[in-house]
Amino acid sequence: MTLKSNNWFINAFFIVVCLLIVAPFILVVSISLSSEDSLFEYGYQFIPRVWSGEAYRIVFEKPDTILRGYGVTIMITIIGTFLSLMLTALMAYPISRRDFRYNRPLTFYVFFTMLFNGGLIPFYILMTQYLHLKNSLAALIIPALMSPFNIMIMKGFLDKISPEIVESAKIDGAREFRIFFRIILPLSTPALATLGLFIAFGYWNEWYNALLFIDNDKYIPLQLLLVRILSQAEFLANSPMAQVSDKLQFAQFPTLSVRMAMAIVASGPMLLVFPFFQKYFVKGITVGSLKG
């Protein structure tokens, strides 16, 4: 008995929704591929009036800044994703075990931080005054290492692994470390792949901690680079306080198409990776209740 159908009406609905979702991407790509003159003349359009690869040529002409940005971003993405997955799994596994004595208090310990926290100021003071992490890669990696929501997703997945597997491994004489690394982790591939992708995107898109903690050019990730380009350009274009000399400088600022090309160069790689993980998503996401 088939329970699903391919209803044309529902399909039509989704096609419209998908078009609405994709349209903004197309607009940005189109702007980046338009010639600057045509943008000034006709404004932004979905199909370039005059095609031009000039913007991308300019971006890659002096690649130093963007390459450094890539370096920082790739570094924090790789290190951060690995560490974060490890920490998340290590925390989620014990609290998913019904027979673990401290499962309730530890679950509370983790999720309480989701409901209550010190807020921006104490966190900022901790990071800069006590841990001395201003202007370091660690400032971009550490804050996002352990998210309660990810732990919740991981726990939801682990809850579905039957306790008998653990039980029989124990009868065979395996201890907890062995069970975790040899049995639980391999069984968790869908959840790890899904979470890994979420976490990797989190790091790739990281701008908040960069905004707070980075002012040294050496450690500027791609997204902060984009923030600076946009805010400087906007400041010079809109602000009545901008002096004539600033306005002159504006001429040297990335032009409209170059700005959009930068945005695509900075975000593109991850968006190309993402569809390959799609097959894990539905299997990997199970948001369980917090009750231990």
């Binding site: 008995m1 329970l3 529902i10 399909n11 989704f14 929704v17 998908c18 979702i21 903004p24 607009l27 940005v28 404004g43 932004y44 359009q45 490890m86 290590l90 925390m91 596994y93 014990p94 075990r97 019904r98 027979d99 004595r101 401290y102 530890l106 983790v110 931080t113 409901l115 209550f116 010190g118 807020g119 100021i121 104490p122 900022y124 901790l126 005054q129 550490i142 804050p143 352990m146 039980e167 124990k170 009868i171 790739w204 898109n205 990281e206 701008w207 997204q223 984009l226 946009l230 906007e234 809109n238 968006l271 569809p275 799609q278 998503f281 539905v282 996401i285 948001v287 917090l290 009750k291």
Partner: protein, 330 residues
């Protein structure tokens, strides 16, 4: 370790407080025995426990800053106490009314539109199968993986006064053009729209994943009884999904006082004229910190955010618990 029973997976073997057996052996000794028995799992969790301690729990001590006049040279503990003085600005300045109202209203709007849209999409997605469904899923999910910075660029492509696409459309239709970034009213619709565009894919997937977990037996039985698709949705899918909807709703409520900084900072471009309808607590605190260096007010606001968040979640959970114990979050 070895002399305790080798395998026991039921929760029943951890003695409840007041268990006569536990009283006999002595409370401390029993506790140590259990600690040893659980130590391997505890060691696995240890890195996470320590990490949370430093990154999440230590800053909570800093909440006392809300009641102090912070000076860098004196540190958190050396600074003088000022009672509730840091909170005073909240009740005087008109800013306060504005940022609190904006934060609450926008968050309500995001939670409600997001939940309804995601549920609807997930229900419809659940009716489909095959290749096309996978494509829809991927497309819906795409914006979730963009940084708010990039969404700011996309917003700019539409809203730029001179070149933006939105104005081109308005001009084409014969309406007056808008200088979006300098206006207030449009943001009440633009921001929820962008939040929906960016977030709906994720919530849809969470609900859809929840739906795939529902046993097909229910549907088969319903079909034998001659139920229609709509009836199955209303009588089987939605009720079984209720716990998930409630969990996400309660969690959303916990952040009702905490706004989406990226959304409200990059999309309206952080320009003064649209603050009346775009400024939220988080952007205000960020400005207070970076532009004015006003650590004290910022700390007071941060304290309120955490406090109100906790109170909302606990009360929402309490209410849910009173109505239906099984659906409560904790």
């Amino acid at each position: 370790m070895a002399k305790t029973q080798p395998v026991k997976l039921s929760a029943a073997d951890s003695p409840v407080p007041g268990d006569p057996k536990a009283r006999q052996t002595g409370w401390i000794r029993n506790e140590i025995r259990l600690l040893r028995k659980n130590r391997e799992l505890l060691i696995l969790a240890l890195p996470g426990i320590l990490f949370k301690l430093v990154i999440a729990y230590l800053p909570m001590i800093g909440l006392i800053l809300a009641f102090k006049n912070f000076r860098y040279d004196r540190g958190i503990f050396g600074s003088e106490w000022v009672g509730f003085r840091n909170f005073e600005f909240l009740f005087k300045a008109e800013d306060a009314y504005r940022i609190i109202r904006n934060t609450l209203l926008y968050n309500f709007a995001y939670i409600i539109t997001g939940t309804i849209a995601a549920l609807l999409l997930a229900l419809l997605l659940n009716e489909l199968s095959g290749r096309l469904m996978k494509i829809y899923q991927t497309v819906l999910f795409l914006p979730f993986f963009l940084s708010m910075v990039l969404v700011g660029y996309i917003g700019n492509a539409f809203l730029d006064f001179e070149n933006g696409f939105a104005n081109k459309v308005l001009a084409f239709l014969g309406f007056p053009e808008h200088n979006w970034y300098l206006e207030t009213t449009p943001w009440m619709y633009i921001l929820p729209l962008i939040a929906l565009w960016k977030g709906v894919g994720f919530s849809t997937l969470v609900y859809y994943a929840g739906m795939t977990g529902i046993s097909t037996e229910y549907y088969e039985a319903a079909k034998l009884d001659g139920a229609t698709r709509i009836q199955m949705m209303a009588r089987i899918t939605l009720p079984l999904l209720k716990p998930l909807v409630i969990i996400l709703f309660i969690l959303g409520l916990g952040n009702i006082f905490r706004g989406d900084f990226g959304l409200h900072y990059f999309i309206p471009n952080n320009v003064g004229p649209n603050f009346p309808t775009t400024d939220i607590i988080d952007t205000y605190v960020y400005r207070a910190l970076t532009k004015l260096g006003d650590i004290n007010s910022a700390a007071a606001v941060g304290f309120l955010q955490s406090f109100v968040g906790l109170v909302t979640v606990v009360s929402a959970n309490y209410i849910v618990r009173r109505i239906d114990r099984d659906n409560a979050l904790f």
